[in-house]
């Protein structure tokens, strides 16, 4: 992958949280640990992991909603890691986010029209009146009617609210949209509507998606590339089809085996990993999966595992599976 053409390129991105552990003591929690990823234009990279894997923190770091401890974020070849104030507010027109909870992501005090128009007011310097035409177009594009612009969020269904969130994210035609579990709080029949909408918008506007999810079936459908995270580390990355077909990291394998599939003939393999995910504070200095991994050996405990390219962009951080 050549960095030059990528919509987003992040290098060694790290976030350490300082956690109070009682009294005056505290510990450092590495929520995101040396993550390097990139997304070419018009492609979707899915970041998959369980709660506590750091995928949501990663998204916040990329959008500069959180300050990274270390590392760089390049958006269309511009380093945005150190941007501040007005400069940063400007660059937000190029990168957007759609949230998991559609209601909670819309301000209850603003009409739908105002919410969707806001990026135009801030970045293109339009007035509400000037923006209204484009707002109406965008609402129709996401499957709502222009008269929805006058409504308030609590008058919408979950699916409609999520369409408003998508309209807000897409109205400035950004280069990158982070989708933070955009369908996981929606009903199944509505979920597929939103997925189809996202896909057609991507084709139309050539947007890059960073798709955060724990739901493998949704990822299988929408992602071109995949990065699997565990306790702040990317343990495997590469083309989605390739990873689904032949997962190499034991954790990826466990995820794929554990995910129930809508096929009565397929029985889920349940007991691949031992125990439950520990806190990121308690993980081994070496491989984060040490202690739960069925194929681990003593050396894994304190030998850090680097991502190694095993061909066709497929990279895995496990010395036993290279």
């Amino acid at each position: 992958m050549t960095g030059a053409a990528d919509t987003l390129a992040i290098r060694d991105l790290t976030k350490v949280f300082r956690i109070k552990t009682g009294g005056f003591r505290h510990a450092d929690l590495k929520a995101v640990d040396d993550v390097t990823l990139s997304i070419p234009p018009g492609r979707t990279l899915a970041v998959v992991g369980e709660s506590g894997s750091g995928k949501t923190t990663l998204a916040r770091l990329i959008l500069r909603l959180l300050e990274p401890t270390r590392g760089t974020v390049l958006l269309e070849d511009t380093d945005i890691t150190a941007m501040e104030g007005a400069e940063l507010e400007d660059v937000r027109g190029r990168m957007q986010i759609v949230f998991q909870d559609p209601y909670d992501s819309l301000s209850p005090w603003q009409t739908v029209g105002r919410t969707v128009a806001e990026p135009l007011l801030l970045h293109d310097g339009l007035t509400m009146k000037q923006a209204s035409g484009r707002v109406a177009d965008m609402l129709e594009r996401v499957g709502l009617s222009p008269e929805h612009a006058r409504r308030y969020p609590h008058e919408l269904s979950g699916g409609q609210a999520q369409r408003v969130g998508i309209a807000r994210a897409m109205i400035t035609r950004p280069a990158l949209v982070v989708l933070d579990e955009p369908t996981s709080s929606l009903d199944m029949s509505v979920q597929s509507q939103i997925l189809l909408l996202l896909q057609s918008l991507q084709e139309e506007m050539d947007i890059s998606y960073l798709f955060i999810s724990h739901d493998l079936s949704v990822v299988r459908y929408i992602a071109h590339d995949l990065a699997v995270m565990y306790l702040g580390k990317v343990v495997e990355s590469g083309p989605a089809a390739e990873i689904f077909a032949s997962p190499r990291h034991p954790y990826t394998e466990a995820l794929l085996r554990a995910a129930p599939r809508p096929d009565p003939a397929h029985k889920t393999d349940h007991v691949y990993l031992v125990g439950e995910q520990p806190s990121a504070l308690d993980r081994a200095p070496g491989c984060p999966l040490y202690g739960r991994c069925p194929i681990s050996e003593d050396v894994c405990a304190d030998t850090p595992q680097e991502l190694v390219d095993i061909g066709a962009q497929h990279r895995v951080a496990c010395w036993k599976r290279i």
Binding site: L65, G85, R92, Q96, S107, P108
Partner: protein, 276 residues
């Protein structure tokens, strides 16, 4: 489905409060007698056609004094709460949103102020500042500030966690715009609710201060001070009308305000929850 029931409480509260406000505004029309008129021949007269609520020492007409006192007590309560909000609301917004060092210092200061029971603190400050309506408003207003700072701060801190605030930042709003457009509107409901309840407390506090002689200076009529006049009568065993009527006036005013606050809170709460 419960809206009707809460509306009833709100209507009762508003009616009672409106009545007291009307009494204050139209006092000269309601009371035929002069509240300051002294009539030494008619002291401690029980309620009669001439003096509906009887007379007190110096022949003061209790009815006229109860009616005119509404002006003082309502003015003091409303101004004091307005002062509390004017100081407390912006501080609460700011320390709640910015947090950090300024927040900790502010909160420790509030801890200190609130370590004093409100009445006792007011006594201390008033005994130093001296009596007078303006000082009363000042003291009652300042005593009420911590309530609003804490309330607004807590509300801001919970509003701050909502995804729509993050969404506002993600589309490129500056921090000050976020505070004004996304967070401040969410605090209005609770502040209005608390304002009504605080007004009720302010009436009670003003009356309590009047009762121990730190209120509106005599001979101006004030409910709390009027009740205090009844104490010596207690031991003598009569003149029940002197303390009873001003007390009822206080209770009606405070009750209506608290009722308004509570029913508004119940009305605001479900809609807010729904819209989140």
């Amino acid at each position: 489905m419960n809206a009707r029931k809460y509306d009833a409480r709100l209507i009762i509260g508003l009616t009672m409060f409106g009545f007291m406000v009307a009494v204050a505004v139209f006092a000269p029309l309601i009371a035929r007698n002069d509240p300051l008129a002294i009539d030494l021949t008619n002291q401690f007269v029980p309620p009669s056609a001439d003096h509906w609520f009887g007379t007190a020492s110096l022949g003061f007409d209790v009815f006229a004094r109860v009616v005119y006192a509404a002006r003082h007590d309502l003015l003091i309560a409303v101004s004091a709460v307005a002062l509390s909000i004017a100081i407390g609301h912006p501080i609460g917004l700011l320390v709640g949103y910015v947090g950090g060092w300024g927040d900790s210092v502010t909160m420790r200061c509030l801890d200190v102020v609130q370590a004093f029971p409100a009445l006792v603190l007011a006594i201390g400050v008033l005994s130093a500042l001296g009596q007078g309506v303006r000082n009363l408003i000042l003291v009652i207003g300042i005593v009420g500030v911590p309530t609003f700072v804490r309330l607004v701060r807590a509300e801001v801190r919970s509003l701050r966690e909502h995804a729509y605030v993050e969404a506002g930042r993600a589309v490129g709003n500056s921090r000050s715009k976020i505070l004004v457009r996304y967070i401040a509107p969410g605090t209005v409901g609770t502040v209005v609710t608390q304002a009504a309840v605080s007004c009720g407390w302010a009436v009670l506090l003003a009356a309590a201060l009047g009762f121990i002689g730190l209120g509106v200076p005599l001979p101006e009529p004030e409910w709390g001070a009027m009740i205090a006049e009844g104490i010596p009568e207690m031991r003598r065993g009569g003149s029940w009308w002197i303390p009873v009527f001003p007390g009822i006036a206080i209770a009606i005013t405070a009750f209506s305000l608290i009722l308004i606050g509570e029913s508004v809170a119940d009305l605001v709460e479900p809609t807010r929850r729904k819209s989140r």
